[in-house]
C-alpha cells in the first residue's frame, strides 16, 4: 500500500488500488514486482530471437562468456535481429486488426504519404511500399543469421509498412472522426455496465450498441476498458487507460466483460477471481444474451461507493483518418507541434509523465496532440482543451499527413512515447522516425546490447531527417521536456 502513489498519480485510481490491496486482489503491479528483475539478456537484445532448436543462445554483454550464438550469430546481428523481430511482430499485430488493408495497400495509402515513404525507402535502396512486400518480410524472418545492416534496413522497412498499413485502414463508421468521452465518469449511470477490452468483433459491438441505445429504455451502457473501440456514431466511452483496466475491474463497477482476442489473460483471470462474467468478443456471441447476463448481474450488485463523487467524463473528438484534416496544424496557424502518445507501463506512475509533459509543453505555447493511454490521461484531466486526440491505430499516419500538408516536419518538435506495451506501438514509433520525425521513447528498448546497432540505427534515421531517442532508464519528465526543447 505504501507504493500506491508510485503506481498512479490519480486520486480515484489510488482509492481503487487501496481497495484492491485490502481485498487481496492481485493486479499487474504485483505480477510485475514478482518478475523483477526481468531477463537481462532479453532486455539488452542479447537473447537470440530466431526460433531454432539449437538455442536458446545468449551473448554475454560483458565479454566474459559466449560472444556468438551456436550458429555463429554475433552480438550486433543478434541485437539487430531482435529489432527486426519486434517490427515483424508489430506488423503482424496490425494485420490481425486490419487484415484487409494489406490487399489494397497501393490504393488505400494516401498519395502524399506513399510518395514520402517511397522517397525514404529509395534513399536506402529499399523497394517501394507494396502489399506483396509482406511475403518478403515473412521469408526474411525464417532466413536465419544475416548481416546486421541488412537486418536493420529490414526492420525499418517493416516499421514503415506497419505505419502505412495501420494508417490507411478505415476505422469507425464516419470517414474522418468520431465522438468519444473519457474518464472514470463514464461508469456513472443507473444501468448495467458492459466493459470491452482488446479488439472485439465490430459486428458484436454494433449489435450490442443497437440493443442498448436503440431500446426504449436504456438497459446497459457500454464502455471501453483501455481500448479505443469504434462504435456506432463514434467511439465507445473510454472508462480508463489500458494500464488501469484491471484496476477498474477490481472495483466491481463493471458487470460484464467482452474481451477481444488480444485482451490480456489477466483480465479473464481477474473476472474468474471476482466472479464477473466474461465473454470473448467474437461475432458468434449473442448480443441479447450478453445484455441479459449483464443486467441480471447489475440487479444483484450495487454500484461501488468509490464512484459516488466521480467528475463527469470529458467529451471530445477522435480523429481517425486522413479523409478529413484533424486541425493539428494548418497553413495559417503558426506554432510548434508536439505529440504525446504511448501506453501505461507498470513500472511507471500511470498518467504522470503524460500530464506533466502536456502541461509543460502547453505552457511553452505548443500545439499538442496524441493518442493511446497518454491521450486518455491528458483528456481525463482537462489540462489542454485544444489537445487533438487521434485514433491510436490510424492517428500516427494522420498526424504525419497533417504535417506534410502544412509543409513538412519543420514545425514538429517531437513525438514522445511515454511507454510501450505492444510491438505495434514500437514499430509505429520506428516508422515515424524513419519517415523523418523526431521520436523519443521514455523507456528502454532492447537494443542497448550493441553500440554498433544503436549507432547504425541513428545514422540510418538521420538520412531522412528522423531521430529515435530512447533511454537506459525510465525517463523523467524533465528529460523529455529538455529533449523537446533541444530541437
Amino acid at each position: 500500500m505504501e507504493t500506491i502513489h508510485l503506481k498512479s498519480a490519480d486520486p480515484l485510481s489510488q482509492a481503487m488500488l487501496r481497495s484492491a490491496a485490502l481485498n487481496g486482489v492481485e493486479l499487474i503491479w504485483e505480477r510485475a514486482e514478482k518478475l523483477q528483475p526481468q531477463d537481462g539478456f532479453l532486455r539488452l537484445g542479447l537473447s537470440c530471437p530466431y526460433d531454432c532448436l539449437l538455442g536458446p543462445c545468449r551473448i554475454d554483454p560483458f565479454g566474459q562468456g559466449a560472444d556468438k550464438g551456436i550458429c555463429g550469430l554475433d552480438r550486433d546481428s543478434m541485437v539487430a535481429a531482435t529489432l527486426y523481430r519486434l517490427c515483424h511482430r508489430g506488423l503482424l499485430e496490425t494485420l490481425n486488426i486490419v487484415p484487409a488493408a494489406a490487399r489494397d495497400l497501393e490504393n488505400t495509402c494516401p498519395v502524399k504519404v506513399k510518395d514520402l515513404a517511397n522517397q525514404v525507402l529509395g534513399s536506402h535502396g529499399l523497394p517501394p511500399l507494396s502489399g506483396s512486400s509482406l511475403l518478403d518480410t515473412v521469408l526474411r524472418t525464417a532466413q536465419g543469421p544475416m548481416n546486421h545492416e541488412k537486418l536493420l534496413l529490414g526492420a525499418l522497412h517493416l516499421s514503415l509498412l506497419n505505419l502505412v498499413l495501420a494508417g490507411s485502414s478505415q476505422r469507425g463508421e464516419h470517414p474522418g472522426f468520431g465522438a468519444c468521452s473519457a474518464g472514470y465518469g463514464v461508469i456513472n449511470g443507473d444501468s448495467a455496465c458492459i466493459g470491452f477490452c482488446g479488439t472485439p468483433s465490430p459486428e458484436l459491438v454494433r449489435a450490442l450498441h443497437r440493443q442498448t441505445v436503440g431500446a426504449q429504455t436504456e438497459t446497459a451502457h457500454l464502455v471501453a476498458l483501455g481500448a479505443w473501440i469504434p462504435g456506432d456514431g463514434g467511439y465507445l466511452p473510454l472508462a480508463c487507460s489500458s494500464g488501469a483496466s484491471e484496476l477498474l475491474l477490481s472495483s466491481g463497477a463493471v458487470n460484464l466483460v467482452v474481451a477481444g482476442l488480444d485482451a490480456d489473460p489477466a483480465l479473464f483471470q481477474l473476472c474468474r477471481r471476482l466472479n464477473i462474467p466474461a465473454v470473448t468478443g467474437t461475432a458468434e456471441a449473442s448480443a441479447m444474451e450478453i445484455l441479459q447476463t449483464a443486467c441480471s448481474r447489475h440487479k444483484q450488485s450495487s454500484r461501488p461507493q468509490l464512484f459516488s463523487d466521480v467528475p463527469p467524463a470529458r467529451d471530445f473528438t477522435v480523429h481517425s483518418s486522413g479523409k478529413s484534416p484533424s486541425g493539428l496544424v494548418s497553413r495559417k496557424q503558426s506554432g510548434r507541434v508536439g505529440l504525446i502518445c504511448g501506453s501505461d507501463m507498470p513500472h511507471m506512475t500511470m498518467g504522470k509523465i503524460s500530464q506533466e509533459l502536456s502541461a509543460a509543453l502547453n505552457n511553452d505555447g505548443m500545439i499538442l496532440g496524441g493518442w493511446g493511454d497518454a491521450c486518455w490521461w491528458i483528456m481525463n484531466h482537462e489540462q489542454d482543451p485544444s489537445f487533438v486526440a487521434f485514433d491510436p491505430l490510424t492517428g500516427p499516419l494522420l498526424a504525419v499527413l497533417d504535417l506534410v500538408e502544412a509543409g513538412g516536419f519543420d514545425r514538429l518538435d517531437g513525438i514522445c512515447y511515454t511507454g510501450l506495451k505492444r510491438c505495434r506501438e514500437f514499430a509505429t514509433a520506428l516508422g515515424l522516425a524513419f519517415l523523418g520525425c523526431r521520436v523519443s521513447i521514455a523507456v528502454p528498448i532492447p537494443i542497448l546490447g550493441s553500440r554498433e546497432v544503436c549507432r547504425s540505427l541513428s545514422e540510418k534515421l538521420r538520412v531522412s531527417g528522423g531521430e529515435l531517442v530512447h533511454f537506459d532508464h525510465p525517463a523523467e519528465t524533465e528529460e523529455l521536456t529538455a529533449w523537446f526543447a533541444n530541437r
Binding site: 528483475p37 537481462g40 539488452l44 554483454p61 560483458f62 566474459q64 562468456g65 542497448l448 537506459d472 532508464h473
Partner: protein
C-alpha cells in the same frame, strides 16, 4: 556468519546472477542497461558453470582455512572480523593473481583492466547479496552457518533415502 548456499537442482543456468552481479557490483552506474556501455567492462564475482544437464553458480565459499589469505603477498585479502567474510582491499591489491592460483574452487578472478583480484564478498554491505536477490528459482540462498546444519540434515536424509532404496533393490544391509 552468513554464507550463500547453492542448490544445483534448482539452478537453470540462466546466468541472471552473473549479469546482475556484474552490473551491481562491477559497474559505476549500478544499472544493467548503463553498465553494458561502461569501460572497462564490468565483471561478475559469480560464475555459472556446467552443462544443460547440470549447472551451478559458483562463488567464493569463504573457506574457514582460506588458502588465498595465506597466499596474498600484500595483505590485501583479509577476513572481516564481524562477518567472517574474506574481502579484497582494492587499494592494497597489486594484481599479482597469486590468490587466484591458490583458490581451490577457482572463484577468485583476475581483473586485468583494473589490476585487482575480484572475489565474492557476499555483498557484505547489503542486506541480501545481489545474486541471491535476483535468482529466479531461488537456487541461491543466504543462510546462517549456525543454521547450516539444518540444510545439511535435509541433504543427509535425502542421501540416506537414496541408499535405502538402492539397498532394497540389491539386498544390501543398511545400518540405521
Amino acid at each position: 556468519m552468513k554464507v550463500i548456499a547453492v542448490y544445483p537442482d534448482r539452478c537453470t543456468g540462466c546466468k541472471t546472477c552473473e549479469l546482475y552481479c556484474a552490473a551491481e557490483r562491477g559497474s559505476n552506474s549500478k544499472s544493467l542497461l548503463k553498465a553494458v556501455r561502461e569501460e572497462p567492462s564490468p565483471m561478475p564475482r559469480v560464475r555459472v558453470e556446467g552443462t544443460n544437464e547440470l549447472s551451478v553458480a559458483l562463488q567464493c565459499r569463504q573457506c574457514r582455512q582460506a588458502p588465498c589469505l595465506d597466499s596474498c603477498l600484500t595483505g590485501a585479502l583479509r577476513r572481516d572480523d564481524q562477518s567472517g567474510i574474506v574481502v579484497v582491499q582494492e587499494n592494497r591489491c597489486i594484481g599479482c593473481w597469486t590468490c587466484t592460483l591458490f583458490c581451490p574452487y577457482g572463484v577468485i578472478y583476475p581483473w586485468p583492466e583494473r589490476k585487482i583480484a575480484l572475489k565474492c564478498d557476499r555483498c557484505l554491505y547489503m542486506e541480501i547479496p545481489v545474486c541471491v536477490d535476483v535468482c529466479p528459482t531461488q537456487a541461491l540462498e543466504l543462510v546462517d552457518l549456525a543454521e547450516y546444519d539444518t540444510v545439511l540434515q535435509a541433504k543427509r536424509a535425502s542421501v540416506l533415502e537414496t541408499i535405502r532404496r538402492a539397498g532394497d533393490r540389491q539386498g544390501a544391509l543398511i545400518l540405521e
